[in-house]
C-alpha cells in the first residue's frame, strides 16, 4: 500500500471532462494529508496529449486499442490490474456515466470499499474524511475513508475545477496494459444529439419546469409565461423522461449546462444532477412548495408557493408590464 491519491481522468472524444479537474483538486487536498502524490490515470489510445493542464504530480498512462473509447468492460479490466498492483490510498472516479459504470464493479472485483456521491473531502491529522450528498441533496453523510484503499465517485460542487489545473506538464509514466481478451462490451457508434429547435445553452432567459408541473396540460401555463418574457422553456429530468419536452430542452448532468441572465426554476427541487447544469446562471429565481428544497440554496430569490398558483398571475403582470 502507498499513500498516493489516484484520479481516473474522464475524457470523451478528445475532451477532458470538468469533473476530472474537480477530482484533481480534491486529490491535492487528500495528498497533503497522506504525504503521497496526486496521480492522474489516463486510459486511452494515442491519447497522450490529454495530460495538458492536469494538476497532478505524475500521470500513469495506459495505452491500448481497446481503451480508445470508453467501455465499462475494458476500463474495469485495466483499472482492476493497476489498482490491485499499486494499492493507492484513494482512487477517485466521477459520479458520472463513465465513473459509475466501473466503480461498483471495481469494489466487488477487488473487495474494496466504495463511497459514492462524494461532494467534498477533508483531512484531520491522518484521517481522511468524506461528505456525500444524498437524497436529492437533502441529506449529507459524513465518514472516514476506509483503509487501506478506498474507492470514491465524486459529484461536482465541492471543489472548483480551476484548482485541479496546472500549467506545469506532469511526468508521464507508461503502464503496461494486461491482455484485453474476452471483452463483452463494444462501442458501435456515437449518435450526435438531435439538432434542437433552440440551443438552450445560448438563451438569455429560461423558464424551467420540474416535477411541480404535475401534468402535461400544465405546460401551457409555463409556455405562456415564457412567451410573455420572450424566454425559452426547458426542464429537469422527470419532465423530459415523461416525454413532455424533448431532450434538447433538458438541463443538468445528462443534458445541457446553461448560463442565462435569468433562470426561473419552477417546481424544481434542485437535485445535484440538475444544479450542476445551472450554476453558470447570473440569477436563479426558484418557486417551490417545499421550503427545504435544495434549489433555494443556489437561488438568489425564492418563493415558497405552488408554481401553478403563481403562473397565471405572474404571466398577466408581465404582459401588463410589457404592454403585451
Amino acid at each position: 500500500m502507498n499513500q498516493d491519491i489516484y484520479v481516473i481522468v474522464e475524457h470523451l472524444r478528445g475532451q477532458v471532462a470538468d469533473i476530472s479537474y474537480v477530482m484533481l483538486a480534491a486529490a491535492r487536498l487528500l495528498a497533503q494529508g497522506t504525504g503521497g502524490k496526486v496521480v492522474a490515470v489516463i486510459l486511452g489510445h494515442n491519447a497522450r496529449e490529454q495530460v495538458v493542464g492536469l494538476g497532478a504530480d505524475q500521470v500513469l498512462y495506459l495505452d491500448h486499442p481497446s481503451l480508445a473509447e470508453f467501455t465499462s468492460d475494458a476500463y474495469l479490466k485495466a483499472l482492476a490490474g493497476l489498482i490491485s498492483e499499486n494499492a493507492p490510498r484513494v482512487v477517485l472516479l466521477g459520479h458520472t456515466s463513465v465513473g459509475m459504470d466501473v466503480a461498483s464493479g471495481l469494489s466487488v472485483r477487488l473487495s474494496l470499499p466504495l463511497v459514492s456521491q462524494c461532494r467534498s473531502v477533508s483531512t484531520d491529522n491522518s484521517l481522511l474524511k468524506f461528505i456525500s450528498q444524498i437524497c436529492g441533496g437533502k441529506i449529507m453523510a459524513e465518514g472516514v475513508l476506509p483503509v487501506p484503499t478506498a474507492l470514491m465517485t465524486m459529484v461536482p460542487g465541492g471543489f472548483k475545477p480551476e484548482h485541479g489545473w496546472s500549467a506545469q506538464p506532469p511526468e508521464v509514466t507508461p503502464v503496461t496494459v494486461p491482455t484485453m481478451e474476452g471483452l463483452r462490451v463494444t462501442l458501435k457508434q456515437y449518435v450526435e444529439p438531435e439538432a434542437g429547435d433552440v440551443d438552450i445553452s445560448k438563451e438569455q432567459i429560461l423558464v424551467s419546469v420540474g416535477r411541480g408541473i404535475q401534468n402535461q396540460d400544465n405546460l401551457e401555463l409555463a409556455q405562456e409565461l415564457a412567451d410573455a418574457l420572450g424566454a425559452v422553456m426547458c426542464a429537469s429530468r422527470p419532465v423530459v423522461d415523461q416525454g413532455w419536452l424533448p431532450t434538447t430542452r433538458l438541463v443538468g448532468k445528462s443534458g445541457k449546462s446553461v448560463k442565462p441572465k435569468v433562470y426561473l426554476a419552477l417546481g424544481i427541487s434542485g437535485a445535484p444532477e440538475h444544479v450542476e447544469g445551472i450554476t453558470g446562471s447570473d440569477v436563479i429565481i426558484a418557486v417551490n412548495t417545499d421550503p427545504a428544497a435544495p434549489i433555494f440554496d443556489v437561488a438568489r430569490y425564492g418563493v415558497e408557493m405552488d408554481m401553478l398558483d403563481l403562473l397565471p398571475v405572474l404571466t398577466e403582470q408581465v404582459r401588463q408590464a410589457t404592454g403585451g
Binding site: 465499462s72 466503480a103 470499499p113 462501442l187 432567459i205 420572450g230 425564492g302 418563493v303 408581465v318
Partner: protein
C-alpha cells in the same frame, strides 16, 4: 427472453426527512418508502421488451414496508412473476448487502437480461446494478435510455452529457442500468392493481444473511442549512408577482 428486474424502495423525498437519535442514519419510523424512480423505468423497459419480442419478466425485491403494493402494480403493468426476498431488512442495509442477496437468488433464475435503475438517490456505496453485475460475473452498462435486441446481443443506447449517445453492444447475459425507458412508465388504474392483488401470487424466498462488506460506516448525517442563499419573497400571490416583475425590470429583461 428471461428478463429480471431487481428493484428497491427509497425514501419519498416529498416527505420531510429527519435524522434519528444516533445522528448517523435517517429516522425510519415515519419514513414513507416508494419505488426508486429509475427502477420504475427499468420495469417499463422490461415490459416494452417483452411486448416486442416475447419472454418473461420477473420482479425481485427485498421485503420492506409497502413492497406488496409495488409488486402487484408491476403485475398490472405486465410482469409475470414476483419474488419477495424475506430477511432481516428492517434494520437497514447497504447496496453491497442487497446486491449479494439479489445475486444468490437471481443466479438460480438463469436470466438472459437484468434491467435495473441506473441509481437511487440514497446510494452511498455504489449502485445496485453494477454491484450485482460483478457478483454475477456479467458485463454492465449504465445510463441506458433505449434497448434493442439482435441475435444473442443487446444494443444499449448509453447517455453522455449534452445529449450524446453511445450505441454499445453487449453479449448476454448482461445487466443494464436504466436511466429512462423508451416510453414513460405507464399509468395503472387502482382497479387494475386491486385485480392483480386477487389473482397474482408473490413468491417468498428466504434471503441470505446480509453482508455489508464493501459499504461504509457513516459517522454523522445532517441536513444542509436550507435556503441559506435565497432571499425569500413572501406575501399574497399578487404581491409576489409584482416583486418578480420589478426584479425582471432591474435585471433588464423586461
Amino acid at each position: 427472453m428471461n428478463i429480471i428486474v431487481p428493484v428497491k424502495l427509497v425514501p419519498d423525498l416529498v416527505e420531510e426527512l429527519t435524522i434519528d437519535s444516533s445522528g448517523k442514519a435517517l429516522d425510519t419510523s415515519w419514513l414513507r418508502l416508494i419505488l426508486n424512480e429509475f427502477d420504475d423505468h427499468a420495469i417499463e423497459q422490461a415490459i416494452l421488451l417483452k411486448e416486442r419480442i416475447g419472454g418473461q419478466v420477473t420482479i425481485v425485491a427485498p421485503d420492506v414496508e409497502g413492497i406488496d403494493d409495488v409488486l402487484y402494480t408491476t403485475v398490472a403493468k405486465g410482469a409475470d412473476r414476483l419474488i419477495k426476498l424475506v430477511g432481516d431488512f428492517a434494520g437497514g442495509f447497504n447496496n453491497h448487502a442487497l446486491a449479494r442477496v439479489f445475486s444468490a437468488v437471481i443466479k438460480e433464475l438463469q436470466p438472459d437480461l437484468l434491467l435495473t435503475g441506473v441509481q437511487a438517490h440514497n446510494d452511498l456505496d455504489g449502485s445496485v446494478g453494477p454491484l450485482l453485475a460483478e457478483q454475477l460475473g456479467m458485463p454492465y452498462i449504465g445510463y441506458v435510455a433505449g434497448v434493442t435486441l439482435t441475435d444473442g446481443n443487446v444494443i444499449a443506447r448509453k447517455e453522455y452529457p449534452g445529449g450524446l449517445i453511445a450505441e454499445m453492444e453487449v453479449t448476454l447475459p448482461a445487466v443494464l442500468g436504466i436511466q429512462a425507458a423508451q416510453q414513460p412508465p405507464r399509468y395503472i388504474a387502482v382497479s387494475k392493481v386491486r385485480q392483480a392483488m386477487k389473482t397474482a401470487t408473490i413468491e417468498e424466498q428466504t434471503a441470505a444473511e446480509l453482508d455489508p462488506t464493501g459499504g461504509l460506516t457513516i459517522g454523522r448525517m445532517f441536513q444542509p442549512e436550507a435556503g441559506a442563499q435565497a432571499t425569500m419573497i413572501t406575501g399574497e400571490v399578487n404581491e409576489i408577482a409584482a416583486r418578480l416583475v420589478s426584479f425582471f425590470k432591474e435585471l433588464g429583461i423586461l
